[in-house]
């Protein structure tokens, strides 16, 4: 069924081989964070064992090695998203920090009271709250692209929502709560037709599909490493070079300067202008190793396997009486959100945990999505390429167990 050697792949992920409450761990919470292969863990450990030094500073050998590894990771990210230049890749803590950076450094200086920011109803809080804060700070208005009952964006009014006052459209590539893949290429083209720049929140997309920022023609693309098999605390902001060059720094400090006197500070060139302070060097190296790992397996192969898992899980869960899937868009990636009739998702989570099944229960940092469907929370299973079809059966068994207990 798959060209992937799943048994060998799973051997690369040591955390998967453990018992939880007497059952083998079935990890289906990948949209919250993914597990890390030995190749990533070793890259981080070896950096600290062999190469640890500060970057861009010393002339000594370790500093050169650390700098090469850190900048090497930037090159890998450039190729991973097909950016034109490594100047367009800024290391950040994660997607959240990248959205805040763009909100404060790119949008805020051009924003006046009455201007508009356009997001969608299915955004993660990370792509809502920074814009709300900006609106509070400037008197700008937040507009929201509506959503349909199946969990797709309703784009019928998009052209009206993109107005002469819209200063940015910020859209998730893949919804973390529903799994919907949004037609961002088309949306970007429609925004650009009105000269409106677009930020894409790709946190849930990069682990599951090939992303080409030049093909999309997005102005900014943000993602987190930890959702794509890399450590926490590292992520990347892609921005078109002309835009990044025109932007003011985000934070001040070391590494982002060329020269400092009390009278005047000259900022460093891209990408360093946006990387104040000693960066997360080991995290960047780990992210580079994760990209190598995914590339070695072939991202298209990973995506195909995950898609097969999602199709199988959707079919089997749909066939169960008393279970409702939340989010049934035509194009989906990795996520199966569901409700079991008469059972609160938190009870589902506890009963699942007793069977070694790790899923997420709650509002998934997307409360407007929950409000739209009139529910407080969902149970969410989310898949990665190391998941198996047996684990889908375990998921179905878990749902049946809940129903037995609550019968």
């Amino acid at each position: 069924m798959s060209v992937l050697d799943l048994a060998a792949i799973r051997q690369d992920f040591p955390i998967l081989h453990q018992q939880i409450n007497g059952h083998p761990l079935v990890y289906l919470d990948n949209a919250a964070t993914s597990q890390k292969p030995n190749q990533v863990i070793d890259a981080v450990a070896n950096y600290y064992r062999q190469d640890n030094a500060n970057v861009h500073r010393g002339v000594h050998r370790l500093s050169q090695r650390a700098t090469d590894a850190y900048e090497g990771a930037r090159d890998k990210i450039r190729d991973f998203v097909n950016a034109q230049s490594d100047k367009e890749i800024i290391f950040v803590r994660g997607a959240t920090e990248a959205v805040n950076l763009v909100a404060q450094s790119f949008v805020r200086p051009q924003l006046q009271a009455g201007d508009e920011i356009l997001i969608s109803h299915m955004e993660h809080h990370a792509n809502i709250v920074p814009w709300q804060m900006l609106c509070e700070q400037t008197g700008a208005k937040l507009n929201v692209i509506p959503m349909t009952k199946v969990g797709e964006l309703d784009l019928s009014t998009l052209d009206e929502l993109l107005t002469s006052k819209t200063k940015i459209m910020a859209i998730g590539h893949v919804s973390n709560a529903l799994g919907t893949i949004n037609p961002i290429k088309d949306m970007i083209a429609r925004a650009h037709a009105k000269n409106i720049p677009v930020l894409v929140d790709g946190a849930q997309a990069v682990p599951h599909m090939i992303v080409d920022v030049q093909d999309l023609d997005c102005d900014f693309y943000v993602f987190s490493g930890h959702k794509m098999f890399a450590p926490t605390g590292i992520g990347a902001l892609y921005g078109k070079q002309t835009l990044l060059e025109a932007m003011s720094p985000w934070q001040g400090g070391g590494d982002m300067i060329l020269s400092v006197s009390f009278a005047h500070t000259e900022y460093n060139e891209l990408p360093y202008k946006f990387e104040a302070g000693t960066p997360n060097i080991s995290g960047a190296i780990g992210l580079g190793a994760a990209i190598d790992y995914m590339n070695n397996l072939g991202i298209a192969n990973l995506a195909a396997h995950e898609h097969a898992l999602l199709i199988a899980a959707t079919e089997k869960v749909t066939a169960l009486p008393g279970v409702r899937i939340i989010g049934t868009a035509a194009q989906k990636a990795s996520v199966l959100s569901f409700m079991i009739e008469g059972v609160h998702p938190h009870d589902v989570g506890t009963i699942f945990d007793q069977q070694g099944l790790a899923i997420r229960t709650g509002h998934h940092c997307a409360q407007p999505v929950m409000q739209f469907f009139g529910i407080p929370a969902t149970a969410r299973a989310s898949f990665a390429f190391y998941n198996t079809f047996d684990e889908i059966d375990a998921l179905v068994g878990g749902i049946k167990k809940v129903q037995e207990l609550f019968a």
Partner: protein, 150 residues
């Protein structure tokens, strides 16, 4: 082990109170009330109190939540009716100790002892204590206030 822990958590009494919560209603003549919410899971509830002097003449609740939080609130309202505020305070403390695994005389808890299984599930203690924290806020205040278990 795991299945028996689950059965301890989801005892029949709890399942019954989840399905058919007692005193699950609005109270128009309440003289104390408080809103409780657990932002982590989205559980929200309102506890209504009608005090006559220091006696709880009536107590009810409304809201939504998991089986543990609904059953806990329902059991709480049953246990409190007719109690004095001092007795309610004592029960509040006993329930709290039970959830956090402190040794207590469980006979003094009556039916509320069915919630003892919660202590094996630390992530769920907040679900069970939300109604009690909200009650406490309602007792302490004669106007509408909000509490959160986060």
């Amino acid at each position: 082990m795991s299945n028996s822990d689950l059965r301890d958590l989801y005892q029949e009494v709890i399942m019954d109170h989840n399905k058919k919560p007692r005193n699950f209603r609005d109270m128009t003549d309440a003289n104390h009330l408080a809103h409780g919410n657990n932002p982590l899971c989205g559980d929200t509830l309102v506890v209504f109190l009608k005090l006559n002097g220091d006696v709880i003449e009536d107590v009810s609740f409304q809201g939504s939540g998991c089986a543990i939080s609904v059953a806990s609130a329902s059991l709480m309202t049953e246990a409190l009716k007719g109690k004095t505020l001092a007795e309610a305070e004592t029960l509040y403390e006993l329930v709290h100790k039970q959830m956090t695994g402190e040794k207590i005389d469980s006979s003094s808890l009556g039916k509320l002892a069915v919630l003892s299984g919660v202590k094996e599930f630390p992530a769920r203690v907040k679900c069970a204590t939300l109604s009690w924290h909200t009650l406490h806020a309602a007792m302490d205040s004669d106007h509408d206030i909000s509490v959160s278990t986060e």
